[in-house]
């Protein structure tokens, strides 16, 4: 028996005693791109027996703690964190095992250094940063690993997206220190209550070897010393790299009684081996997640089940699982959602963009005020064409109701129509605006619901309607306070968004207290109830008559966006990652509940003191996310996203940015005309109506609802929310009545339809749902 084998045997015995190794090791399955990383320590957690390819995935690697093995992650169970991570679209899940060495410190070559190699390999072969989920001392092994040089270049930390630690003793273990002090007679410098509690546990553990009493087995080992509070071994670890997100999860148990009546005060034990303070000592993501279990008695700690907050139980606590999965899902989205890229540069500022399908037009004007000349750039087939010169005009705005058909208007009252890839000549639609420089009644905005219905609005609140062949005479919208101007010589910015010939929403900012708006119902304008938005750069974008977003407002009070729900307004909170200097220039809302907004940054504030980077923020699922595409110039001015998922943003320097899947979730909402996308309740009803055998084939037990619902040509793909989680996606058909399809239908009809169509949602074409290759 060599030393390693002997220690492995001891560890195995301890693990058995502790009851930690409750499931067989996860199955190793080779998949393309995984062979080079798999070894005795690094194994892939398979989803329903199928190993997803590492290449292109976001690797999620789980590392265990002391007195444990990779089996603790229970990857073969669909309800475990690892089991669920393995089923996430876009992810591969892995476990790292140092069980034979788990009485050694993390500097052992088989622990920290080997883990560093595993991380580097996963990142290199996947093409993505790795998400690490670490339990207990696994977090310290991670600290060591991410501080090592990466054999493929840089540091290992450079290839880590986030570290999530569960009960990691960043500062060491108070209880372990107390045990050691009692064992060796060392001087005790920490609160006396902990030594009292440790002595009580030592007494209670006479005759008991399982549960928390198993911790006593590490005392004579290397980690028995290394994991003491503020130990030299912990101090000597490489510091956590700056900028690496680390999210801490901790347990919180309080001991209330040691003899007779209660203690003078409850004693914080954290998750027992690790105090809460220690488990949350290195937290970079904002706020640690603490699982609170209230008070416990010594009897329950030693003889009963200490509950979900107990160190060993934390990783299987449903709340912990949920918060870890949420974090993993966010990192997958970060990594896999296509990014914004600089696409082209216009001759000068871009003042307006409009997209329809996979087609966009950007317009702007360059030159001195009063003598500016316009230009238009067309995006088609994934590329931008050279700018086409238009006529004079200080400010251009454009609207494309259909791919290949757009109408652009100038503030000076001229319109240009793009059709069959040719821009028409200038057509004077409003002579009253044709004054140089800009008139107080300049044409401000245009919105087209179709090629035969566009509405242009002027600074004095008039609407001019295009019917496909001619423009109407101006008609007052009826925005109180707009005429005469509150501030003579200045004019308001009036914005409009039309979704059909029977619905437009128009409005403006009069001053800091008045921002009137009105609705077009197909025959007349009528004022809306007052909205919360007040002030500068009122801009509106509507997905339909029941969902519009207004952006702009007074950033200083956080009033930068609000939503119209068909009957009234509600103000939105600012994005969490931005301060009060944020100000949106525009938002574009291609569907209900989904908007993409550009931060006007410095150009909005107009002050170097307030200067900040601009960026792009996404409103989805009731919250702002972002920023993406931080723009050092801070002058992103305009954005448009089509219902096909294409987004284009531009700044006042002429930089145009494209995200082909900027609204990736939008793509899945593309729907055949006349068929509504079902909601969670409807899907749940269809799910429950399906035969049990079909439901079970989706491995999604106890479904409680559905999220991420996407529809396309009668197919519905949604993610089930489950009590006991299962697969990442479930597919329904809307042919006939809404119904759950079989796996055979998935691989035949669904696959044929999706793989044959160029406009099918991109996310539907890839494993684990199907593969079109």
């Amino acid at each position: 028996m060599n030393r390693r084998t002997a220690r492995a045997s001891i560890a195995a015995a301890l693990i058995a005693v502790l009851g930690l190794a409750v499931v067989p090791a996860v199955t190793v399955q080779a998949a393309p791109g995984t062979d080079s990383c798999v070894n005795n320590q690094l194994r892939q957690v398979t989803a329903a027996g199928h190993a997803q390819p590492l290449t292109g995935s976001v690797p999620v690697v789980f590392i265990h703690g002391i007195l444990s093995t990779a089996a603790m992650w229970d990857g073969s169970s669909v309800g475990s964190i690892a089991g669920q991570a393995a089923r996430m679209r876009g992810a591969t899940a892995w476990t790292f095992d140092y069980g034979p060495e788990n009485l050694d410190w993390v500097t052992n070559p088989a622990i920290g250094p080997a883990f560093a190699t595993a991380i580097a390999c996963l990142a290199q072969n996947s093409g993505h940063k790795v998400v690490i989920v670490a339990h207990s001392m696994g977090g310290l092994a991670t600290q060591f690993a991410v501080g090592q040089p990466d054999p493929y270049g840089g540091m290992v930390a450079d290839h880590v997206a986030e570290v999530i630690t569960i009960g990691t003793p960043y500062l060491g273990s108070m209880l372990l220190s107390a045990f050691q002090a009692l064992r060796t007679g060392a001087r005790w410098i920490y609160p006396e209550q902990y030594r009292v509690a440790a002595e009580a546990i030592l007494s209670a553990c006479a005759g008991v070897t399982s549960g928390i009493c198993g911790l006593l087995n590490v005392l004579p080992s290397q980690i028995g010393t290394a994991l003491e509070l503020h130990s030299t071994a912990i101090r000597d670890l490489p510091p956590w790299p700056t900028g690496l997100p680390v999210y801490d999860i901790a347990g919180d148990i309080k001991l209330i009684q040691l003899v007779a009546g209660p203690l003078s005060g409850s004693l914080d034990l954290g998750d027992i081996p690790v105090l809460t303070d220690s488990a949350t000592a290195h937290e970079t993501t904002g706020k640690a997640f603490e699982v609170s279990c209230g008070t416990e008695t010594l009897w329950n700690l030693v003889h009963g089940n200490p509950g979900p907050c107990y160190h060993v139980n934390l990783p299987s606590d449903p709340d912990v699982i949920q918060t870890v999965l949420t974090s993993i899902r966010a990192r997958i989205n970060d990594a896999l959602l296509p990014q914004w890229t600089a696409a082209t540069v216009a001759p000068g500022p871009i003042t307006s963009v409009s997209c329809s399908g996979q087609f966009c037009v950007a317009v702007g004007a360059g030159g001195a005020v009063g003598n500016r000349h316009g230009y238009a750039l067309t995006y088609s087939g994934g590329a931008w064409a050279k700018p086409i010169p238009l006529g004079t005009g200080n400010n251009y705005t454009v609207s494309c109701p259909r791919a290949g058909y757009c109408v652009a208007v100038t503030d000076t009252g001229y319109a240009y129509t793009l059709q069959n890839n040719i821009w028409s000549g200038a057509k004077n639609i409003y002579p009253a605006a044709n004054v140089q420089p800009s008139s107080t009644d300049a044409v401000e905005d245009i919105s087209c619901a179709s090629p035969s219905f566009c509405v242009a609005v002027t600074a004095e609140g008039k609407a001019l309607t295009w019917n496909g062949t001619s423009w109407s005479a101006p008609q007052a919208i009826g925005l109180p306070g707009i005429q005469p101007p509150v501030f003579p010589g200045e004019f308001s910015y009036v914005s409009i968004s039309c979704t059909t010939a029977a619905f437009c929403l128009a409005g403006t900012d009069i001053d800091a207290f008045n921002a009137p708006s009105a609705i077009w119902n197909g025959t007349q304008w009528s004022a809306t109830p007052p909205g919360p938005m007040k002030g500068a750069f009122w801009h509106v974008s509507c997905a339909n008559s029941a969902f519009c977003m207004v952006s702009g407002g007074y950033h200083a009070v956080g009033d930068i966006s609000s939503i119209w729900d068909g009957a009234g307004w509600s103000g939105l909170a600012q994005p969490a990652n931005e301060g009060p200097a944020l100000g949106f220039s525009q938002a574009s809302c291609p569907k209900t509940g989904f908007c993409v907004a550009v931060d006007g940054g410095a150009s909005f504030n107009g002050s170097t003191a307030d200067r900040r980077n601009g960026g792009i923020f996404t409103w989805s699922n009731g919250t702002w996310n972002g920023p993406e595409l931080p723009d050092a110039k801070g002058d992103l001015d305009t954005i448009s996203c089509s219902t096909s998922g294409l987004c284009v943003a531009a700044d006042s320097s002429g930089n145009i940015f494209v995200n082909p899947y900027g609204g990736v979730t939008i793509q899945s909402q593309t729907q055949s005309p006349g068929t509504a996308c079902p909601d969670s309740v409807q899907l749940l009803s269809a799910w429950n109506s399906a035969p049990a055998a079909i439901r079970q084939s989706w491995v999604a037990p106890q479904v409680t609802g559905f999220t991420d619902i996407g529809c396309w040509h009668g197919w519905v793909v949604a993610v089930p929310t489950t009590v006991s989680p299962g697969n990442g996606d479930v597919v329904f058909s809307q042919v006939g009545s809404l119904h759950l399809i079989t796996v055979t239908e998935l691989q035949q009809q669904f696959r044929s339809a999706v793989c044959a169509a160029s406009d099918a949602p991109a996310g539907w074409r890839n494993p684990p749902l199907i593969s079109c290759n």
Partner: protein, 131 residues
């Protein structure tokens, strides 16, 4: 001669291997070093401390450290009795525990466990907990 050398070498190897195994096992086994008793009867000196604990002078039975963490006052009302369950004494090294029935006047009898530590000259109580 060769046979003797071989035997001697074999013996040395066995001894070294045995010593190594013992060393490794000691290195990884329980921290509760010392003699172990499972299921015996509580030592009389430990039982004396338990009885002292339920008396009017109960605090004198506690370790001084535990005593300092508790609110002032008598631990148990007069008339409290603890009856150890025969064979319930467990001891590892200096630490032990005993299970029994705790009868507190006015309360239903309860199964209780009492922990003790041998501080050389006498046992002191480290905890008392009821099921």
């Amino acid at each position: 001669m060769k046979r003797k050398i071989l035997l001697a070498s074999g013996a040395v190897i066995v001894l070294v291997a045995a010593a190594a195994v013992v060393f490794l096992l000691r290195g990884g086994t329980t921290a509760q070093e010392g003699s172990s008793i499972a299921g015996g009867d509580i030592p009389s000196s430990a039982l004396a401390s338990v009885r002292l604990m339920v008396s009017a002078h109960g605090r004198q039975a506690l370790t001084p450290e535990l005593d300092a963490t508790l609110p002032k006052g008598q631990l148990f009302p007069a008339g409290t009795v603890f009856s150890p369950t025969p064979g319930s004494w467990h001891q590892v090294g200096a630490y032990g525990n005993v299970t029994g029935t705790l009868r507190v006047p006015g309360q239903a009898p309860a199964v209780a466990e009492i922990g003790l530590v041998d501080r050389g000259s006498h046992w002191l109580v480290t905890f008392e907990v009821r099921k």
